[in-house]
């Protein structure tokens, strides 16, 4: 099951905890993997760890031209592009009353607009191939909201609506588009929390623990597979029961 041999996948935000785990899972299933991110060093370290079939494709997703060029670079490096995982994301948390236009715009640009541009750019190769997988990493807060994250939650909810609309348009061409919505996942981002904060979070989660990046990667691997060909426009919530949607 879930054999991706011969497929090529582009993963944005591959230098982060979740993105790295996604890249590893797709690679382990046999896919060629394009590792994108802003920080070259961790990408190169990951590529070295993966060995063959891993390609470093640095890209600043805030730069429209660089985003447009990325799928072309990925196709040049890997010979194709069958699976797109829009995982990169930033936060600029701020109480809404004080949220600046810049804090809003930067988060929307990187999380939502760059994902849209990449989805648009992969349409052509995927339509030609009559096969494609788009997997957008949303968030539980896109569905539930979260204080201090008006910009982030809007970008993640926006991804869900975008994903569904793309799914409608291209379903007849063998292309699926789905979202994965992680809950609290233990990464470098959550390591900064104090033990008290972590405990308070765990209390809200029926599973009573944070998820692991590998648990998100497993959801992505499933949606990328041939076996998930009849699943499109869905949002797979991976959150330990924190929000049962």
């Amino acid at each position: 099951m879930f054999d991706l041999t011969g497929k090529s996948a582009l993963v944005t935000g591959a230098s982060g905890g979740i993105g790295g785990a996604i890249a590893k899972a797709l690679h382990a299933a046999g896919a060629n993997v394009g590792l994108s991110g802003t920080r070259v060093e961790p990408l190169e370290a990951l590529a070295a760890e993966l060995g063959d079939r891993a390609f470093v494709l640095p890209c600043n997703l805030g730069d429209a031209e660089a985003v447009t060029a990325l799928p072309k670079q990925a196709i040049e490096a890997m010979g194709g592009l069958d699976i797109l995982v829009n995982n990169a994301g930033i936060t600029k948390d701020q109480i809404f009353m004080r949220m600046s236009d810049e804090e809003w715009q930067q988060v929307i640009d990187v999380n939502l607009t760059s994902a849209m541009r990449l989805c648009r750019a992969v349409m052509r190769p995927m339509m030609k191939a009559r096969w494609g997988r788009i997997i957008n990493i949303s968030s539980i807060v896109g569905a539930t909201g979260n204080p201090g994250q008006v910009n982030y939650a809007a970008s993640k909810a926006g991804m869900v609506g975008m994903t569904k609309s793309i799914a409608y348009e291209v379903a007849s061409r063998g292309i699926t588009a789905n979202a994965v919505a992680p809950g609290f996942i233990a990464t470098a981002m959550t390591d900064k929390l104090t033990d008290d904060q972590k405990e308070a979070i765990n209390k809200q989660i029926p599973s009573n623990r944070m998820g692991t990046p590998e648990e998100i990667a497993a959801a992505v691997l499933y949606l990328a597979s041939d076996e998930a060909g009849y699943v499109t426009g869905s949002t797979l919530h991976v959150n330990g029961g924190m929000a049962m949607l």
């Binding site: 052509r124 339509m127 030609k128 348009e169 291209v170 007849s172 061409r173």
Partner: protein, 77 residues
């Protein structure tokens, strides 16, 4: 019929699965040949490949019929 028209017709027949005699000068891809909007995009992609040309989006939108396609491609290639 010109070579371009023959090649365009072949693509249209194959892609839309229509009878060759339906593909006439004024045949609209969407209204007469049963294409949906995605089919028209794919036709343009197929034309680009067949003729080694690039059809920009604003030009692609003006290609509504078989005749439009033949005319555009004849002028572009």
């Amino acid at each position: 019929m010109s070579d371009v028209a023959d090649r365009v017709k072949k693509i249209v027949v194959e892609h839309l699965g229509v009878e060759e005699d339906k593909v006439v000068e004024n045949a609209s891809f969407i209204d007469d040949l049963g294409a949906d909007s995605l089919d028209t995009v794919e036709l343009v992609m197929a034309f680009e490949e067949e003729f080694g040309i690039e059809i920009p989006d604003d030009a692609a939108e003006t290609i509504q019929s078989f005749g439009d396609a033949v005319k555009f491609i004849s002028e572009a290639s």
